[in-house]
C-alpha cells in the first residue's frame, strides 16, 4: 500500500521533469537550472510548459480520485463523475454562458459557467436524494439528469446562430491542456485540492459500504453524509477541472481499474493511489499529445477515450465476474 504510493509518486515526479524538459523549443528544466535560459525561452517555460504539466497532474488526480470514490460509493465498477451528471452539468453551464453572450465579458465566463454547472448538477442530484437516501435512487437520478443535461446542451447548440460559438464549444468539449495559463492553473488548483480533500476523507465510510448500507449504518457510518461528501467533493474537483480543460473522458472510469491489481479492491485504500495514478496517466497522455503533430495536435479528451475504451474492454473480459 505505502509502496505503491512511493512508486507512483516517483513515477509522477519523473514524468513531470521529462514533460518540463522536452518540447518543440529547447527551453527545458536543465537550462532553467543552469541559468542559460533566454527571456523568450523562459516565457515558453513558465507560461506554456509548466502550467500545462501542472494542470495535467491536478486534473488527472481529480479525475482518478473522483472515479475511485464514485465507484466506492455506488459500489459499481462502471461509475465515474459522468454517472451523476456532474460533467454534463458542466457542459450545460458552459453552454449557457456561451449562448447567453456573457462570454464577451471575459475569458473567465466560460469556465465559470462550467464550474457552476457542475455544482448545480450536484445540488440537483442531492435534492433528488434528500428524501430517499438510497444509492440506487442516486444512480437513477444521476443518469436521468445526465441525459437531460446533454439534451439541453444539444438544444442550445442547435439554436446557436453563431457558428464560431458552436465550434468553440465543440473544441472545449474535446478537452485539452493547450495554451492554459499559469493564472488559470492557480485559480482551479485550490478547488481541486479542496474537492480532493473532501473525497479522501470518505475512505473509511466507503470501506464499510462494501458490506451494504445496513451494516455500514449499524457501524456508525452516515450514508447520507458520505453521499453528500462524495458528490460535493466530485462536483468541486471535477467541476473545476472540466471548467478549464473541457471534458476528459474515461480517466475516472479507467484509473481505479489500473490500480486495483496492486492495491486490491478495498475502496478506501484505492483513493490516494488512484489520485496519483490519474495524475501520472494524464501527464503521460498529454505529453504524448504534445508530440503528436498530425495535421493538428491531438486533443487529450480524444486520446484518453481512444486509449481508454479498448483497454477497458480488455479489462472487462480479463477480470473475473464480479460479485453480485
Amino acid at each position: 500500500m505505502k509502496k505503491i504510493n512511493f512508486i507512483l509518486g516517483t513515477t509522477l515526479a519523473g514524468f513531470f521533469l521529462i514533460s518540463l524538459q522536452n518540447g518543440a523549443l529547447d527551453a527545458g528544466i536543465g537550462k532553467l537550472l543552469t541559468g542559460k535560459m533566454s527571456s523568450a525561452e523562459s516565457a515558453v517555460f513558465w507560461h506554456l510548459r509548466f502550467p500545462r504539466s501542472l494542470l495535467a497532474i491536478l486534473v488527472g488526480a481529480a479525475l482518478g480520485l473522483s472515479g475511485a470514490a464514485m465507484q466506492g460509493l455506488l459500489r459499481n465498477p462502471l461509475a465515474e463523475s459522468s454517472v451523476l451528471g456532474i460533467s454534463s452539468g458542466a457542459v450545460l453551464g458552459a453552454m449557457i454562458a456561451l449562448y447567453s453572450g456573457l462570454t464577451v465579458w471575459g475569458i473567465w465566463i466560460l469556465p465559470l459557467g462550467g464550474f457552476f454547472g457542475a455544482l448545480a448538477a450536484a445540488a440537483l442530484v442531492l435534492v433528488f436524494c434528500f428524501r430517499h437516501t438510497s444509492l440506487l435512487g442516486l444512480i437513477l437520478a444521476g443518469t436521468a439528469l445526465n441525459t437531460l443535461f446533454f439534451a439541453l446542451s444539444s438544444l442550445l447548440l442547435s439554436f446557436s446562430k453563431n457558428p464560431y460559438a458552436v465550434l468553440e464549444v465543440i473544441y472545449w468539449q474535446m478537452g485539452s491542456f493547450e495554451n492554459r495559463t499559469l493564472a488559470q492553473t492557480a485559480v482551479v488548483a485550490p478547488w481541486i485540492i479542496l474537492g480532493s480533500w473532501m473525497l479522501l476523507r470518505t475512505g473509511s465510510s466507503l470501506q464499510l459500504l462494501t458490506l451494504g448500507e445496513d451494516v455500514a449504518r449499524s457501524s456508525g457510518v452516515s450514508v447520507s453524509k458520505t453521499m453528500r461528501q462524495v458528490i460535493m467533493g466530485t462536483a468541486v474537483a471535477v467541476g473545476a477541472a472540466v471548467s478549464v480543460c473541457g471534458l476528459i473522458g474515461f480517466v475516472g472510469l479507467l484509473v481505479p481499474h489500473l490500480v486495483r491489481p496492486w492495491v486490491g479492491h478495498d475502496p478506501g485504500k484505492l483513493l490516494f493511489p488512484s489520485a496519483l495514478a490519474g495524475a501520472v496517466f494524464l501527464l503521460m497522455a498529454d505529453t504524448f499529445c504534445r508530440f503528436s503533430v498530425f495535421p493538428v495536435e491531438l486533443k487529450i479528451g480524444v486520446l484518453t477515450a481512444l486509449l481508454g475504451a479498448p483497454f477497458f474492454i480488455y479489462l472487462a473480459f480479463k477480470t473475473k465476474a464480479q460479485l453480485t
Binding site: L211, D214, V215, R217, S219, G264, L323
Partner: protein, 224 residues
C-alpha cells in the same frame, strides 16, 4: 444487563409493519424471533438498531457495542476474508483471531468470491463477533446453510451468549430454535402473538395460529 423496546410503530406508505410491538431482551440468552415471511421480523430488529424510522415508541438501554449480521449478505468488492472481518476495525489484527474462533482460520487469505455460501455467512458472522459485542443481532443467520454450517453458526452464537452477550436471531427453523433459543417471540402481522420459553411456546397449536399449517410432533428429525 437487559434492554427493551416499548410500543414500536413503524410503517411504509399504507402498510403498517410494526404495530405497537414491545419486547425485552436479556444478556446471556439467545432470543429467537419467528414468524411468517413479511410479518415484520427484520423490520423489528432493524428498528432496534435504529436503521428504520419509527413513527413512535422507543428502545431503552441498547448496548453500545453491537454486532449485526444482516439478512442480505451483501459483499460488493472481492476482498480477502480477513480484510472483510477487519472492515471498520479500530484495532488491527483482530481478523485472523476472529476467523479462528469460528474454525475458519484457513480462509484468511482467500478472496470472498472463492468461498462457499456457508463460509461467506461465517465470515460475516466473524466480523459481527470481532469486537466481542454486548449485543449480537443476526437476521436469518442459518437460512440457505447446510446442516453442518447451521450447527456451526448456532453453536458460535450460543458461545457468545454464554460469554454474556445478548443474542437476538430471526429464524425459520423450528427445530433449531427449540434446540438453541432461551426465549422465543412468535410474530404475526407486525405483532408478538406468543412469547416465552421454547418448550412452552413452540407447540402445534401456537404454530398453527402463526403459520397456518399443521405441525406433527412425533416426526421431528433433530440435528445433533
Amino acid at each position: 444487563m437487559k434492554f427493551l423496546c416499548e410500543k414500536l410503530n413503524c410503517g411504509f406508505r399504507e402498510k403498517q409493519v410494526l404495530k405497537n410491538i414491545s419486547g425485552k431482551f436479556e444478556a446471556g440468552k439467545i432470543t429467537a424471533i419467528l414468524g411468517p415471511n413479511g410479518c415484520g421480523k427484520s423490520t423489528w430488529i432493524r428498528a432496534l438498531l435504529g436503521l428504520v424510522k419509527l413513527q413512535s415508541g422507543k428502545v431503552i438501554g441498547l448496548p453500545e457495542k453491537k454486532g449485526y449480521l444482516p439478512q442480505k449478505k451483501e459483499i460488493y468488492w472481492p476482498l480477502t476474508c480477513e480484510a472483510i472481518v477487519e472492515l471498520g476495525s479500530r484495532a488491527s489484527g483482530l481478523g485472523a483471531s476472529s476467523l479462528d474462533r469460528l474454525g475458519i482460520g484457513h480462509l484468511k487469505d482467500k478472496r470472498i468470491d472463492e468461498v462457499s455460501g456457508g463460509e461467506r455467512t461465517l465470515v460475516l458472522l466473524a466480523r459481527a463477533l470481532r469486537d466481542r459485542p454486548d449485543l449480537i443481532i443476526a437476521d436469518e443467520p442459518v437460512a440457505e446453510l447446510d446442516p453442518k454450517h447451521q450447527m456451526r453458526v448456532m453453536q458460535a452464537l450460543k458461545e457468545e451468549a454464554a460469554r454474556g452477550a445478548a443474542v437476538i436471531v430471526t429464524m425459520h427453523d423450528i427445530q433449531l430454535t427449540a434446540q438453541f433459543a432461551d426465549f422465543v417471540f412468535l410474530m404475526r402481522d407486525g405483532n408478538v402473538v406468543f412469547q416465552g420459553a421454547p418448550d412452552a411456546v413452540l407447540n402445534p397449536g401456537n404454530l398453527k395460529t402463526v403459520f397456518g399449517v399443521i405441525f406433527v410432533e412425533d416426526k421431528g428429525l433433530y440435528v445433533r
